[in-house]
Amino acid sequence: MNDSNPIELILSVVRESYPDISEESLCDIIKPLIPKFFELIIEEIERELPHSAAKVELPSDSQSRLTFAQQVSHAKRSRTQVRASKIFEAELTRDAIKEIDKIRQRYAETGDTQKADQYAEYISIFRGASNEKDRIYDYIDNDMTSNLTYIQDAEDRTNRRLRGLIPDGDK
């Protein structure tokens, strides 16, 4: 018998009081009592609930707003940092390729095609590595941005604002 099971415990008490009782009769005794058990449980919960609730420390309204503002600010900062990394990567790739290409051109002008081809290959390897890095940034950016809650009103306001930024002649 599992003593920690309250139903088993009740059954064992009944069995002790009526040692000759059959399983069927036992069920007949217990069945009408089940709604009463539930009633008692609910009464107990209702009695204890105010005390338990009083012990729970709920954040105040201003605390909740502050926490939300901090989370939003953190999310924005993280996305901004990823986008700054994308810009840095694009600028770095442009500058590096420009420099490697200057060397390639010098070899090409002096007729050393083997060296020129080798540098062309370096450019292609560098570009490939940079694209791979870009894809990783995109993945992180999408992941963070997709957590934003979509709000139609916000989109309408953004579009109105965008139109306001464009010169009248270009609209």
Binding site: A84, F88, A90, N142, S146, R157, T158, N159, L165, D170
Partner: protein, 105 residues
Amino acid sequence: MEINNKLIEYMSLPQENTKIDGDKLNHLRILFDGFDFNSFDGYYNFIYENIEINISINGTVLISLVSASNISENITMLSKLLNKINSLISIAYFSKRIRIHDLSA
């Protein structure tokens, strides 16, 4: 209702680095009046609702827009805005890159 949310990313990379400071930054701040502004480590960031504009001190501009509406219309608007920004910071020659990511997937 399923919303087909997209992240549109539009970047312009100047052929030569320029320097964004003083007057140029003031022009940008006037243009983006009402946007949240912050700067860190050589990047200026303007944020308003679903749009974020990041500009490096060297003149590279990245506009990111979260949108579920007409993509081609949005791209046209972003292209015009990019041209406007580049004209403010005196960048004549630049390459453009557009990427569209599906956020609903």
